[in-house]
């Protein structure tokens, strides 16, 4: 990287610099004030805990549980969200009938249902999958509906001028046109599904990263808790990047800034 590159894109240097400065300040404050590990561990202690947990595979096994819960929940949410969203957007009567319920459920904080689901479905993975699906479902549903309804009139005129059937218009125009929105919803949903799985594990579980956080919490292993948080952050970033990569291939024609969020 030359000096000129740095001048043109200073943030490329500033991003790691902020990280290094932050970690260094944290480390020196903890050392200088002799803050005990059970209050705030130094970054070096967190790194040690993370290294240890990763090498004895403790974190990996728990992480695998959480990831599979989240991904299964996400897939259920994606499938039902796309199907139900399509039905709602295509049929006026269905929309008018169901929309009040959609709005009501959407405003309900879904994670509040988690204890109930654990009672119904038990401490195993199934309750976590359902919670993850529930939390991830609405961003998909809403974006599918919005996406299917934002077709510009000229494209519909074109299809009408060809006497296209409703199905042809859906298949050739409305559906592909909605894909950027659908992917925006999926991108949010995948992150939400991890949130749902963790919350489910908090409420009652035997395994998973959420469970591990609770274990560390009881043992006052604060460094371990931070290590799990780092792992969760890395997981979130990885899922987001995978979604972005899929998105770039599927909706190659759409610029990211054409898409609205949730």
């Amino acid at each position: 990287m030359t000096l000129r590159d740095v001048r043109q894109r200073p943030h490329v240097v500033l991003i790691p610099l902020v990280f290094v400065a932050f970690v260094a300040a944290w480390e020196s404050i903890v050392r200088a004030w002799r803050i005990p590990d059970y209050l705030l561990p130094a970054p070096s202690a967190i790194a040690r805990a993370l290294g240890l947990g990763l090498t004895n595979r403790l974190y990996v096994e728990h992480a695998w549980v959480t990831v599979s819960e989240a991904l299964l929940g996400f897939l259920i949410a994606a499938a039902t969200g796309v199907v139900l969203g399509t039905v709602i957007a295509q049929f006026r009567l269905v929309e008018r009938t169901l929309y009040p319920y959609v709005v009501a459920f959407q405003t309900l904080p879904k994670i509040a249902v988690a204890p109930l689901l654990v009672v119904w479905l038990g401490f195993g993975v199934s309750s976590k999958i359902v919670i993850a699906a529930l939390v991830a479902f609405f961003p998909v549903l809403v974006n599918v509906i919005v996406g299917l309804k934002t077709v510009d009139a000229p494209k519909l005129d074109l299809m009408r001028s060809l006497s296209a059937t409703r199905w042809q218009t859906f298949r050739f125009v409305t559906f592909p046109n909605a894909l950027p929105f659908v992917f925006a919803g999926l991108d949010i949903a995948v992150v939400f599904s991890v949130l749902g799985a963790i919350v489910g594990e908090f409420v009652g579980s035997q395994r998973g990263l959420g469970n591990l956080i609770l274990q560390f919490n009881t043992a006052l292993d604060i460094a371990g808790m931070f290590a799990v948080l780092l792992l969760l952050a890395a997981l979130g970033v990885a899922l987001h990047l995978i979604m972005q990569a899929i998105q770039r291939r599927v909706i190659f024609w759409a610029q990211p800034d054409h898409v609205i969020g949730a």
Binding site: K155, D157, M159, S161, L162, S163, A164, L179, W253
Partner: protein, 277 residues
């Protein structure tokens, strides 16, 4: 096919004899009123009657907002007029017909389809044989000067190229009538003149009947066998000017006296409120 096959409409015996059934499309007493959002009634077209002969190139010129797009939508069966009738090839128009190809003001391409697949959209929708029409689509892409671009996506093309794709798409299912709504309005002056030349060539080679909307007087004179001049809102037909300039016309013609005479005549018909250029 030889270019000389297509005679200007006014030289055709059938037209000279005034036989109605020789007309490709006729519009009689069209009126259109819109009800706008504040419930006020907007008269857009008033008593428009028009007849276009097979192979004829008619241009329709008028100030913006005078109802040109409205007229085109009615002719294309996309809009039912408040009153009046349209007949295409002797049959009353009640909806879109596969005998009409429309080039809209914007190219309206599907960004997820390649150029070739965009051109083949009508073929797919009308359930025609893809293999047969694929060859035709490639020929048409050649005709509009886009040979070799069939695998590109719309975002890889310039504005002028996109409108050429749109033209090829309007022609692919071989409609008898081509309706064009200010197709080159968004292009720069030089690209526009080049497109006018090409459109003239394509029209002569394909033998299509064209109704071409524009708000440019020189474009109207350059392209048209006949220029229909519309008055400001509500759109009425103020005058119809027959342009008896030979074909093919080249760009130098626009500097000629004869061309200037037609342009002046149309400008006068447009009236003081219709000054456009």
């Amino acid at each position: 096919m030889p270019a000389s096959r297509v005679l200007p409409y006014y030289e055709r015996p059938a037209i000279r004899g005034g036989q109605e059934d020789a007309l490709l499309i006729t519009a009689a007493g069209l009126n259109q009123t819109y009800v706008s959002q504040d419930r006020s009634v907007v008269p857009a077209l008033a008593d428009v009657s028009l007849a276009v002969a097979p192979g004829e190139f008619v241009t329709i010129v008028g100030p913006s907002g005078c109802g040109k797009t409205t007229l085109l939508r009615i002719l294309g069966g996309l809009l039912r007029p408040t009153s009046g009738t349209v007949h295409l090839l002797g049959r009353a128009v009640t909806g879109p017909s596969r005998n009409v190809g429309i080039v809209f003001q914007d190219p309206v391409l599907l960004p997820w389809r390649t150029v070739l697949d965009n051109v083949l959209l009508p073929v797919q929708v009308l359930r025609l044989d893809r293999q047969t029409y694929r060859a035709r689509a490639l020929d048409l892409l050649g005709l509009v000067g886009l040979k070799g671009f069939e695998g590109k996506y719309p975002h890889e093309l310039s504005g002028g190229m996109r409108q050429r794709v749109s033209l090829a798409r309007a022609l692919v299912h071989d409609p008898a009538l081509l309706l064009m709504d200010e197709p080159f309005g968004a292009l720069d002056a030089m690209t526009r003149e080049a497109m006018n030349l090409e459109l003239q060539r394509i029209w002569r080679e394909s033998g299509k009947t064209v109704a071409f909307i524009t708000h440019s007087i020189s474009e109207a004179v350059f392209l048209g066998d006949r220029v229909v001049v519309m008055s400001p809102r509500p759109g009425r037909i103020a005058d119809v000017v027959t342009v008896e300039l030979g074909r093919p016309r080249d760009l130098d013609l626009m500097a000629s006296d004869a061309f200037g005479v037609y342009a002046r005549k149309i400008r006068q018909a447009l009236g003081p409120r219709g000054m456009l250029e």
